[in-house]
């Protein structure tokens, strides 16, 4: 094979590796950055933190919705399972709790339309012990993000959602 052909083959192979590698790595890297931001560089792990009302200056994650009140918990299951709970808002507006793995997969989601009394579940890796009688979500990665979204399009509804989400729990069992 001529030298030019060899170089062409090497170029194409490297381009394929670069393309696929970037596509595979990007979600992990971007989630890593998001987890670092939301946990304040690992200072807030397995605990909910509450975002202020979304405005034009919100930069913690792409495409935030100004109509929602957010709370987030960066979880780390490397030392055991955690228990997650969230009460509904007083006006029974939309509230969801979603669990994301470190590769961006939305591995579980609950809402207060299906569970009007509130959401409560254990999050654990395969094989980890969990309490009986509690629904269990099996995580696919040790770390990830839990997000509480509550409908809050006005200042008044945000205040109500803010009060309700203060009871959110995300803590080791």
């Amino acid at each position: 094979m001529s030298r030019a052909v060899w170089l062409g083959v090497c170029f194409c192979a490297a381009a394929a590796v670069g393309h696929v590698g970037t596509v595979i790595a990007a979600p992990q890297v971007i989630m890593h950055v998001a987890m670092a931001r939301l946990s304040q560089h690992d200072r807030l792990i397995n605990v909910f933190s509450f975002s202020p009302r979304v405005d034009a200056h919100a930069r913690w994650v792409v495409r935030p919705s100004p109509d929602l009140a957010y709370a987030s918990c960066v979880y780390d299951l490397s030392h055991g399972a955690i228990l997650v709970s969230a009460a509904p808002s007083a006006d029974h507006g939309y509230t969801s709790i979603s669990v994301f793995a470190a590769n961006t997969d939305n591995i579980a989601v609950f809402d207060t339309f299906a569970q009007p009394q509130g959401v409560r579940f254990a999050l654990a890796l395969a094989g980890q012990a969990v309490p009986t009688g509690v629904p269990v979500v099996r995580a696919t990665t040790a770390r990830g993000i839990i997000l509480d979204r509550r409908l809050a399009p006005t200042a008044a509804t945000f205040a109500a959602a803010d009060q309700a989400r203060s009871a959110d729990r995300c803590a080791p069992i």
Binding site: A14, A26, A56, R63, S98, D105, F113, L151
Partner: protein, 193 residues
């Protein structure tokens, strides 16, 4: 073959491959009809690596389709890019979910940097007529009497429609959804519809 030539070709190939991935990830999703783009696998465990990468760039922490459907459009009905210096009529009817909203995002995928307090409008703010049809205006300044979403400092922006708790039919087939239209009303400098 000289080693430096080999290394240079490998480096160039990796750079081109990575660059093409970035371009790909910044592109929208599949056409959903009426100028909107959407994805049935956003956030779900069914997403392939390419969809995951796109979601990570433009819709990180998005919900799966059982909870929310996301649609994005960057052009008006005539296919022209949405621009801050133009005014648009956003019009539609009932949408198949418990609640919906339309939000303006700047090209950096964040909200436009303005303090107008009108970054979105939602199902609770529009005023449907007897036939269930509603209208809103996307513009850089308020329009008296109209439901307004501000595009000030949004540059060449996009609109994102979120439908929460969508009906099973909507989840199964986007083409059953009558998505809102976005029609240019006029532009500053006299460039009309």
């Amino acid at each position: 073959m000289a080693r430096w030539q080999f290394a240079l070709v490998i480096a160039a190939g990796l750079a081109v491959g990575a660059g093409s991935a970035v371009v790909y990830m910044r592109q929208g999703m599949a056409p959903a009809g009426g100028g909107w783009m959407g994805s049935k696998v956003t956030g779900s465990v069914d997403a392939d690596a390419w969809t995951r990468a796109r979601v990570a760039v433009s819709g990180l922490l998005a919900l799966n389709r059982g909870q929310a459907l996301y649609f994005v459009r960057k052009t008006d009905e005539a296919g022209r890019p949405l621009r801050e210096n133009c005014r648009y009529r956003v019009a539609g009817g009932a949408l198949p979910g418990r609640w919906w909203s339309v939000t303006v995002y700047a090209p950096d995928n964040f909200l436009p940097r303005n303090d107008d307090g009108a970054l979105s409008f939602d199902a609770t703010r529009v005023h449907p007529d007897a036939a269930g049809q509603w209208q809103a205006v996307a513009a850089s300044h308020p329009v008296p009497g109209a439901v307004w979403v501000s595009t000030r400092r949004a540059g060449q922006f996009d609109l994102t429609l979120r439908i929460y708790n969508p009906t099973p039919a909507a989840q199964a087939d986007f083409t059953t959804i009558a998505l809102p239209s976005v029609t240019r009303i006029g532009c500053e400098g006299g460039q009309g519809a």
